[in-house]
């Protein structure tokens, strides 16, 4: 992979651990990250059926605090953060004035008027600059890039709680979906949230970088009984795609809005104003020009980002994510199609061939929740 000589790849606190293992490394958003340890398919299936452990320390964290910080975030993000109680997280987005995605983020409410925003690795500096620039207008609010203070580990899969519980004093059953708790994991200070990016039950752990290795090894050790495996970004990508989750830089970017991305539910119209609201209102009344759809191929082949989508000789749009997923064993993908063509089937141009595809509802995969849960 080509890169500028003056931009060395960044490494997480677990880099040496990855290199000392069987991991095959890849580059992602300027970071040298494990792509896979034991094969993408094997890791994918382990997360769907047992548990997998991921290093997501490349993600950034921005702390926002001050007596006016809630008002500020309400203006910078499109969701309703007044609904977010301390100890809970919320999926949200920073939108440009045009209503397009600057980033999609997860907001932790640490305390009233004290937030931690987890942002995509490729956007850390840009998000921080963008937020800081705008905070001045809101009085008492500051944004601090605290990315270097945290390593982020994710344990995902149906056996996650069983593996993690013996390592922590936190009562995990009391940590509800999207909630978090502070405590210790393997005697290391940790913030443990019931969140994830795989469509599976699981937890994410914010820990001090100097102790990340200790937590990593403790979870691998505790996971032996259920055959937990370390997993890389390759499996993360196939898992999140099966679960219908959008990836910034592919399915979401500065050219797409929540309405186009099928994330209408994120937009809190009841707020008086927020960045991008006017543009979204206009788009809502005029109708979107393009819409993200999920699809599966009906013939052999694999759709990849950038492939063109056609119907009746018209270019519909392009594929933004696509792979063959190990669990469903299907070639699936997402892409934006022109709203003028409300199609149910189309063709994906895969090199010199055109392969039939049909629109299917997302998520492609939904985990079976235990009865009563």
């Amino acid at each position: 992979m080509e890169r500028a000589v003056d931009a060395p790849l960044k490494r997480t606190p677990l880099f040496a651990r990855h290199r000392a293992s069987t991991a095959r490394m890849t580059t992602f958003a300027g970071w040298e990250m494990p792509e896979t340890y034991s094969g993408i398919a094997a890791e994918h299936l382990a997360v769907r059926t047992r548990a997998g452990l991921f290093d997501f320390s490349h993600l950034g964290e921005i702390e926002i605090a001050g007596s006016d910080s809630l008002d500020a975030l309400q203006q910078l993000m499109c969701t309703d953060l007044a609904q977010l109680r301390p100890g809970h997280t919320q999926y949200s987005a920073l939108l440009t004035s045009g209503g397009t995605f600057l980033d999609d983020v997860v907001v932790f409410s640490l305390a009233p008027r004290h937030f931690l925003v987890v942002v995509n690795a490729s956007n850390i500096d840009r998000d921080h600059a963008w937020i800081s620039e705008r905070l001045g207008a809101f009085g008492d609010a500051v944004a601090v890039n605290v990315s270097a203070r945290y390593a982020l580990l994710a344990i995902q899969g149906p056996a996650s709680e069983e593996v993690l519980q013996p390592l922590t004093g936190i009562d995990l059953p009391s940590v509800k979906p999207h909630a978090f708790s502070h405590g210790e994991v393997a005697a290391v200070r940790a913030t443990v949230s019931r969140t994830g990016y795989t469509g599976e039950e699981g937890f994410e752990l914010l820990v001090p970088p100097q102790s990340a290795d200790r937590v990593w090894l403790a979870i691998l050790d505790a996971g032996r009984s259920v055959d937990l495996v370390p997993a890389g970004l390759g499996a993360c990508d196939t898992l999140r795609l099966e679960a219908g989750m959008r990836l910034y830089g592919y399915d979401l970017n500065e050219e797409t809005t929540p309405l186009e991305a099928g994330l209408d539910w994120m937009v809190c119209w009841a707020k008086d104003s927020f960045s991008g609201k006017a543009a979204l209102r206009r788009q809502q009344s005029e109708g979107v020009q393009k819409k993200l759809v999920g699809f599966e191929l009906m013939d052999s082949g694999i759709a990849r980002p950038g492939h063109r989508m056609w119907a009746d000789g018209s270019l519909l749009g392009r594929v933004t994510s696509g792979t063959r997923t190990p669990f469903l064993k299907k070639a699936i993908g997402m892409g934006y199609v022109s709203a003028a063509h409300a199609v149910e089937t189309f063709e994906v141009e895969i090199r010199h061939r055109r392969v039939r595809a049909r629109v299917v509802p997302m998520p492609f995969y939904r985990r079976q929740r235990p009865f009563g849960a």
């Binding site: 792509e35 896979t36 993408i40 398919a41 390759g234 052999s300 694999i302 063959r324 190990p326 070639a331």
Partner: protein, 125 residues
């Protein structure tokens, strides 16, 4: 270092060809499958297709990546290994036994310039 079989010829693009008479079985090397990761799809040419040396005869895809397959020498496609269509993962398990196509060589002299197992192994170091 896995053993690269004697009697095979190799290209710097990591294809192999096993020539017998005017026919040659073509596949990809152990190194190539290792780099690709788990193979999930292979697209192969139709019978009768004619290929020039270095021309693409298909594609091989892992979960993450797509690679072109290139003809080590010029020839006509006289057999296609259709079992790889349904079991592409065999390329990972047995790369040097998983031939993809058989070529009838139209310019046999081209094979003289391909790498033998020793030179190919040296290339990977």
């Amino acid at each position: 270092m896995p053993p690269y079989p004697h009697g095979f010829k190799f290209t710097p693009n990591h294809e192999w060809i096993q020539i017998s008479g005017d026919r040659g079985k073509v596949g990809i090397t152990d190194y190539a499958q290792e780099q690709l990761g788990e193979v999930v799809y292979i697209e192969l040419p139709d019978l009768g297709a004619t290929l020039n040396q270095g021309e693409s005869f298909g594609t091989i895809e892992s979960i993450k990546a797509v690679s072109e397959l290139y003809a080590p020498v010029s020839g006509e496609v006289v057999e296609v290994n259709s079992t790889l269509k349904t079991n592409p993962e065999r390329v990972n398990a047995q790369p040097h036994d998983s031939w993809m196509i058989v070529l009838r060589l139209t310019k046999p002299a081209e094979a003289d310039d391909l790498l033998d197992s020793g030179r190919y192994s040296a290339l990977l170091k």
